[in-house]
């Protein structure tokens, strides 16, 4: 039933929809754009091809075919003036990393980077312009660093060049506040670099001290030449010193910090242990008793650091800390009274004040609350409210920051500052200021405190028990400090959580850090947003109900619909193209749009009217579904039968041709697949809520999922959502919020685990704890379940380490600790813990098919 076409594909007309653009691979709607016998979908693609051909850069297409960036989704704005703000010295300064007048360096984020062809072309920029000295791509971060000669090409020239070849840099507010941003970036790079260095030095010392210790282990105590033993001991100390002073320095700093705050964290017992190991080794080597425990010492530090590195796995391409600044443009076009009347100029957004007259074009965001000056327009508020359908606004209406202008450009006067607007003031909420302690910190700090107390008490007891014999007493007490290893937390947790992070990442669920895994195990309420979360914001379900259309009528209709700029009719035009309806070029005349009613036009000799029922003259339709298909920008889905409600709802577009009513198109948001199953999986252990900014038109459909009416709330403002999550938390629930837009930003931040859905990797998502590929939403219950499994693995590893600690500590208390015992016991216990957690986590993921 879903794929009923209006008529069989017309055999006479060559199926143009099968021709793919040589540049970007999109379907060519129109076969007339060609160059060198190659077809292109639009003039933009053809232009890039010719530019590359003229510069001998056609290798671009050989590396991977049809690799170009499509211009379909790019702003249709071709005005040169839109980059005017890049000539502003202040803006330039904030975008340039370095300049001395002869060379300048800058880095751009290019979300379009997707294949090795992109990499190749972007590193050949110097062939397209003499002013560019070199360019370097960081593929994972989707960044290009460009060195250029400012005498020959301006910053604006570089941006324009990138834009011409389809890679328009993402220039956002956030890039402007870059000075702080870059410092932060540099800081993380430095810690990563220094961690590698620390591990390298610890590993080097570990390997060599182990070799120096072997002669004694093999020959037995006292058998080795005393001079040789002293020599090996001194060499070991020489190697171990950098490990103590550099590699292990982080543990000392961290435990010192926590002790100063009268608090014990997990680094305290580690610092005590490694300090005891080192001091006792030096004493024993100096007294000539043994060759010390320095192999155990360096090995321990090496493994601890490896655990740290493992836990630090990050997803470069994903940013978890974006706020509204990442969405907003860095410049805005304003009309100011200049010498020659009212001039259009582009100013940086930071310079935008109240009372400025702004011009916002199709697809641009409104940067500040303002009052509309144009007569009428359409604004898509899905960012702010979650409401999916565009809103019609009239002159004098207040427009909220974050709305996206659809169709014709609008003029408006700002009434509030950018940061004080309705949406952006959400970020002034205290939720965005506080940084609560993470679950992992809580657990490991508690563990660290108990462990430290336990070790100190045991060492004291051992000392007292041996007391008349001071030598043995000191020996036993220090042995306890040396051998006690909190490896359940220091090794088991990093490896188990690190593996889980990697496994989730491969499955399309990217966590901010390992602590989120533990947070997930504490969740017992899940809150969903509707638009873009439960529904797919980019896919519409389009159904045609009415009389059959002849293939000529389809042609007229397709041509007319494509001419309109209204998002609804564009959706329908797309679906018609994808189900193989003809797309001939027809003459359109007398086009007339009547606000909030529809439009009419003449196609060839026929008269087409599209719009609301009263405008078109609708009548009752026989309920036959003629076409029904879901549009997706890349491919066509056919609708799944579940969740389809019986009666018509959503937006309707009626059509009439030559005065005769033909039928209506019903455009609905499409629900994601697998929701019913997901909800039945979640329901036993979690309370489920819906917070929608949209209207309650879908209430009946949703009550299948949310069995309780009280669990659903509609017409929620971003602030309402935040408060709602807070109320749930105050009633003792651990809340996971699943959302997608800026309107969920507050709730995502307030919740224990904020999960942002992203349609594809690298798309914008608000600040959150986890980013999830939107098509993986149906696996959410499995992900939460696996987080619980990981927690059980860590607990099991804890008991393994308890067994080793009992063996080791009994040796220590009895005064039997020797370098050999330590050299065997510590690596074996560490290896078992690491091996067990790794194997258990990976096997568990395989069994659960994650």
């Amino acid at each position: 039933m879903p794929n009923l076409k209006i008529s069989p594909p017309n055999q006479d007309v060559p199926s143009t929809s099968q021709t793919h653009c040589h540049h970007c691979g999109e379907i060519c709607a129109d076969a007339s754009i060609t160059a060198d016998d190659k077809a292109f979908c639009c003039e933009g693609c053809k232009f890039v091809y010719e530019l590359l051909r003229d510069n001998n850069l056609c290798t671009y297409y050989d590396i991977s075919a049809q690799s170009g960036v499509s211009f379909k989704n790019a702003l249709p704005d071709k005005r040169r003036s839109r980059f005017d703000y890049l000539d502003d010295p202040q803006t330039q300064q904030s975008l340039l990393e370095f300049t001395n007048g002869l060379i300048a360096k800058t880095t751009f984020h290019l979300p379009q980077i997707h294949c090795s062809s992109c990499l190749w072309l972007l590193e050949k920029l110097h062939k397209l312009s003499n002013g560019i000295i070199s360019s370097r791509v960081d593929f994972m971060r989707k960044e290009v660093s460009i060195t250029f000669d400012p005498e020959q090409i301006s910053l604006r020239g570089v941006v324009e060049l990138l834009t011409t070849i389809g890679y328009e840099p993402e220039l956002r507010q956030q890039n402007i506040s870059i000075s702080s941003n870059k410092k932060q970036n540099n800081a993380t790079t430095t810690t990563a670099t220094s961690l590698y260095l620390k591990i390298g030095i610890a590993g080097f010392a570990f390997g060599n001290t182990m070799i120096f210790s072997f002669p004694e282990y093999l020959s037995g105590v006292g058998e080795l030449d005393s001079r040789l033993r002293m020599f090996f001991g001194i060499m070991s100390i020489a190697l171990a010193l950098p490990v103590l002073l550099y590699s292990a320095s982080g543990y000392f700093q961290s435990s010192w910090q926590s002790l100063k705050q009268r608090h014990i964290n997990l680094d305290v017992p580690i610092a005590i242990g490694i300090l005891a190991l080192f001091v006792r080794s030096v004493v024993e080597i100096a007294s000539g008793a043994t060759s010390g425990y320095l192999d155990s010492f360096t090995g321990l530090v090496f493994l601890l650091l490896c655990g740290k590195l493992f836990q630090q796995k990050t997803f470069d391409a994903i940013a978890f800390d974006r706020d509204y600044k990442s969405y907003f443009p860095i410049a805005v076009t304003v009309r100011r009274k200049g010498s020659s009347g009212a001039d259009e100029t582009t100013i940086p957004l930071s310079a935008l004040g109240v009372g400025e007259r702004m011009i916002i074009r199709n697809n641009e965001l409104i940067p500040a609350d303002s009052v509309l000056e144009s007569a009428v327009g359409h604004v898509d508020y899905s960012f702010v409210t979650g409401e999916s359908a565009p809103v019609e606004v009239l002159c004098g209406n207040v427009l909220y920051a974050g709305g996206r202008v659809m169709g014709a450009a609008l003029e408006m006067t700002s009434v509030k500052d950018v940061s004080q607007s309705y949406l952006t003031s959400l970020w002034n909420n205290e939720t965005f200021q506080k940084h609560p302690q993470s679950a992992l910190e809580q657990v490991s700090d508690t563990f660290g405190a108990y462990f430290t107390a336990f070790v100190l008490v045991l060492a004291g007891a051992a000392f007292l028990a041996w007391l008349p014999n001071v030598g043995t007493a000191v020996n036993a007490a220090t042995a306890v400090l040396v051998i006690a290893c909190p490896c359940a937390m220091t090794l088991a947790a990093p490896f188990a959580l690190g593996w889980t992070l990697k496994i989730f990442g491969n499955a399309g669920f990217y966590l901010k850090n390992t602590s989120v895994v533990l947070e997930l195990t504490r969740i017992n309420a899940v809150v969903f947003d509707k638009t873009g979360t439960l529904t797919n914001a980019r896919t519409n379900r389009v159904q045609y109900k009415g009389q059959g259309l002849t293939s000529h009528e389809q042609e007229y209709l397709a041509a007319a619909l494509r001419h309109s700029t209204h998002p609804l009719t564009r959706s329908i035009a797309t679906v018609m193209q994808y189900v193989g309806m003809p797309a001939a070029q027809l003459q359109i005349s007398n086009y007339e749009e009547i606000p909030s009613r529809g439009f009419q036009c003449r196609v060839e000799e026929h008269y087409v009217r599209v719009g609301s029922a009263e405008f078109v003259g609708g009548e009752t339709v026989e309920n036959t579904t003629i076409i029904s298909a879901n549009v997706h920008p890349e491919r066509l889905h056919f609708q799944s039968p579940h969740l389809e409600s019986q009666h018509l709802q959503g937006a309707q577009v009626h059509i009439a041709i030559d005065g005769a009513y033909k039928g209506l198109f019903n455009v609905n948001a499409e629900y994601r697949r697998g929701l019913a199953k997901l909800f039945s999986q979640l329901r036993p252990k979690h309370k489920l809520y819906l917070l929608s900014g949209d209207n309650d038109a879908e209430h009946d459909t949703l009550s299948d999922l949310f069995t309780d009416d009280r669990a659903m709330a509609f017409f929620q403002t971003p602030q309402d959502k935040l408060d709602c999550v807070k109320t749930l938390q105050e009633s003792g629930l651990g809340v996971a919020m699943v959302g997608d837009g800026l309107n969920d930003a507050g709730a995502l931040r307030q919740s224990n685990v904020g999960i942002a859905l992203a349609e594809e990797r690298g798309t914008f998502s608000p600040a959150c704890d986890a980013v999830m590929s939107a098509h993986k939403l149906d696996r959410l219950a499995d992900f939460i379940g696996f987080a619980g499994y990981t927690r059980r693995v860590i607990i099991a590893a804890f008991w393994i380490s308890v067994v080793y600690n009992i063996v080791g500590l009994s040796c220590a208390v009895m005064g039997l600790l020797s370098p050999l015992v330590s050299a065997v016991l510590m690596p074996v216990s560490n290896a078992t813990v690491i091996g067990f957690t790794t194997a258990a986590t990976i096997l568990g993921a395989k069994l659960r098919k994650i």
């Binding site: 290798t59 050989d62 590396i63 090795s116 990499l119 190749w120 590193e123 791509v137 960081d138 593929f139 994972m140 971060r141 790079t189 990563a192 670099t193 590698y196 260095l197 390298g200 030095i201 080097f204 060599n208 120096f212 030449d225 001079r227 040789l228 020599f231 090996f232 060499m235 190697l239």
Partner: protein, 49 residues
């Protein structure tokens, strides 16, 4: 005699091993561990010039 021989040889071998450590430190400092995806892709691209 054998003891002195061992000491000298151990000294030499450690000094030699230190050069590898130095090479590793240089590699980290020169940023070779910062981005390990792009160079792998870069090498796959043929230049017909």
């Amino acid at each position: 005699m054998a003891t002195e021989m061992v000491m000298i040889l151990v000294g030499f071998s450690t000094a030699f091993a230190l050069t590898f450590l130095a090479a590793f430190i240089w590699a980290v400092k020169s940023g070779q561990f910062k981005d390990n995806t792009t160079p792998a892709l870069r090498i796959l691209v043929d230049d017909k010039e």
